[in-house]
Amino acid sequence: MSIHILGIRHHGPGSARSVKKALQQLQPDIILVEGPPDADVMLHYIGQEGMEPPVALLAYMPDDPQQAVFYPFAQFSPEWQAIAYAQQAAIPVRFMDLPLTHSMAMDKGEKDTPLVDQPADIEEILPSQAETEISHEDFSAKEELETGLIDTPVEHIHRDPLKYLAEAAGYQESELWWEHTFEQRQNTEESFAAIMESMQALREALPETKNKKEPLREAYMRKIIRSAQKEGFLNIAVICGAWHAPALTNLDTKKADEELLKKLPKTKVDFTWIPWTYSRLTFDSGYGAGIHSPGWYQHLWDFPQDTAVSWLAKVAALFRQKNMDTSVAHVIEAVRLADMLALLRNYPRPGLHELNEATQSVICFGDEVLLQLIRDELIVSNKLGQVPGNAPKVPLQHDFEKQQSKCRLQPKADDKVYVLDLRQPTDLDRSKLLHRLSLLDIKWGRQENVSGKGTFKEQWRLRWQPELLIKVIEMGVWGNTIEEATNQFIAHQSKEVQELSKVARLLERTIPAELPGAVDAVMNRINELASMAGDIVQLMQALPPLAYVSRYGNVRKTDLAMLSALVDSLIVRICVGLPNACYSLDEDASASMFAHISEVNNAINLLQQDAQLDLWHHTLLELSAKEHIHGLISGCACRILFDGKALPTEEMASRFSLALSTANEPGYSAAWLEGFLKSSGMILLLDDVLWNILYQWVATLDGEVFKNLLPLLRRTFSTFSPVERRKMGEKAKGLPAGQSTGFAYKHTPGFDASRAEQALPVVKMLLGM
């Protein structure tokens, strides 16, 4: 009877190859693989039609799907190869680790205490909150250790001790080290013995981990090996993380182990397989045992021979596909340079670093930008796995169904219209759900214009289509609950968008979904884009919706302090950049700039912040005084200043006549007047100060000049409605300036306003108001 313990590196193609070779030599009658034993039932899906790595074994608590653990597998994962071997050879294969029903219960219990333990070797706890907590822990562990012997946190070494050894040996790539150290050996068993020995030494040298779970896990692993022995298996192969290997050699610890494993908490855990992507296998995605270059590892797995040449050929093919000329000569030179670099660095053959450097230097002409392309397409690659259709449901589906029944919204195939009153808690929940779904691109409900006024009403038209379910499953990658998935998805989306106005719209859509995390992400993105935007128009477009949200908030009480800071900085940027942006614009550009200025003005008026208003007026003052600015814009600026009482009446009058002097180009004067008076016919009738300026100016003109200016005036006044024009005529004819009716009653001598107001209620009653 023999037990062979094969210590491996998770997701290491070298390890995977060695394991495959070792299993073929050993011919075991059972294989035990590190993983949760309560998921043994899931093993039969591997090898089924439609199962294609990368996939992940997902474990979650059905009553709290946020608590979830992923076990990703790639084709080059040694565990995957071991399981596949077992199925081919038709021998039993089992998982061997602390069952998740215990370990997740422990995690949950410890959530409240400050010391959360580290994620296990190949686990990832997805909810963003849990993730940040863990990274904090990592960080603090690191700080503590810096005073000690080594500067790598113990937990990191535990997770990938072979990488640590490779780095200690001066290799930047642990796969290269593996290959150099182990693959040249003929006897694979010997190499696993060597690993075991080095791990033994490492375990003795390193301080003990604070992770309370680790002894439990190893105890359970031993327990499972013992029970396999008991069942009469004679040739047992054990595949586990290298770190654990030495702990599994001595099995005479039955009593102590059982003592340790007594009274573990329990919870219900469900399992399923979900498709995984290579990008989520990477370290950057927050996966604890992540690797940096899954695509490269896949390549190493596929091409054990001539790795460098085939890799560079792939690179060349990618560049050609992107329409960049890449000749065979390029590839030849790149291979030579990579070889030379490896020689210079004393490596047996070039690794990914050398290949990248050679590519950058030879093919990309030193440009680093193209390397990013290689990174995205080849090194990480966006390969997406597949799972068989009969795999159990994903948690997002469960959560979706739960939300449906909570909000009492049933999926129906025909249209149903809901009018939601956001002051009601149920309706508010419904609205949140629908907004979130629409953000997730799950188009169940369509928002429609609601009749009647008020911001507390929404109207939705709901129609369920079966295809939407696929979308739900697809979105399962982003999280296990609707809320979490939306948060992650929006955060991801906001990073992709490049246009400020689009992000502003995204924010508008995100706020009603009440997702603080996503809102923060979107606002950060707006901030980022705003500071980078060279195009002032973009900023001006983004301001009004943001100002609106910031001023009125909404019925939902979102925290808007950050938004108002954002609006503030947007206004500063607009004010700094506006004068330059208005230089030498043509007719059309000026017209659209006019519209933007008016909108920004409305937004700033809406905000009612004195500091902002002062800055804005100051900018407009500068703008109106500049030359080479289209009349439309100058006029508009003057008008805004006048309305804002930032320009005294006399000053206004002199500017008015200056702009309309006959020495000016007629076109300029006309445009100026248009900008000044645009769509304010009614105001002209009612506001006597404005009226007077115009009136007096006309009165000062002598006959000849007036005749010359007439076409210009006509052009502007023709935009007013006939009724307005008629009234203006009457006003000009009837009353001398400054003595008209309307709001100027205060100027009428002998008029007692307070007495007049007493009569108003009666008048209102008579009119039925």
Binding site: D325, S327, V362, F365, G366, D367
Partner: protein, 360 residues
Amino acid sequence: MSTILRAHAEHQFAEEIEEIKKVDTYQRPPNWQLSPWAVVTYLMGGKLKSGYEVSPKYIGSRRLIEIAVATLTTDRALLLYGLPGTAKSWVSEHIAAAVSGDSTLLIQGTAGTGEEAVRYGWNYARLLAEGPTVAALVITPMMRAMRDGKIARIEELTRITSDVQDTLITVLSEKTMPIPELDTEVQATKGFNVIATANNRDKGVNELSGALKRRFNTVILPVPETMQEEIDIVKRRVESLGKVLELPAEPPALQEIKRIVTIFRELRAGVTLDGKTKIKSPTGTMSTAEAISVVNSGVALAAHFGDGQLKAEDVAAGLVGSVVKDPVQDRVVWLEYLETVVKSREGWKDIYRACRDIVV
């Protein structure tokens, strides 16, 4: 002490090269005086097995220098590319000194560099007297490098007009230089290669033709990676320049250098050091060399017109001058930066005021 203002690298660091030679056991490519490993050590500095300390010539990524040196052992020539002030010529001179023991085989590229400067010229007096003979040839650094198997250097390759640039193609691909007038050719000896430098922000450059580009491996020398690295470079250079110019001022306080480097790095990267605020970058390059000159002129100002201590007012003029290269666009960038970043930063009031006074 010699009266030469600036000694060649191979003379200035002759002792270091000798010491490295003593411990250099790696294989040397033909006609190299050091192995590739030793060349990299010479550039990056470090302690030798013999205990001798080699001074670093290049402060930055070792990998880049490795690529550069490895390139010289292949069939391709080396093109050092990058912003002005990133030590391209410096690196090229030292590599040539370490590889061939001779950094003087230099062709300076200008808009007026002609074909005869790259290939060969004629001594016209002799040409008229004797007709085309070998003795009438004027041998260029390129030809000498080919004959002797050494490294030839071309500075500012992109400033040379395209037709002259392309005369390099035969040299780099065929490794030969035909002299049709004499019906002969000069064939390159082993060990010959070319290091060229070029600017990527320069205006009025002549882009390399595709054919020529393919004969070069390109290494882009980046701006300093970390704050500390850059402060280190600025400090060293300012101090050594101060000695040469014999400025009476006190050496600049680290504090002031740190602020200037901060401003340069932030504007260059387009984001504040804490990574929280994005900012626009000006059109200029904001290179380390410029930071050095800002500090330097500040020191000179302080020495001759101030109290000898480097203050915010002394650096403000130089600072604004190096940021605002384009009076319209850069002014906006600079104002935005002043208002959104400098103004609110603790302890930066003096520099804010000093800069504000100059701009508006």
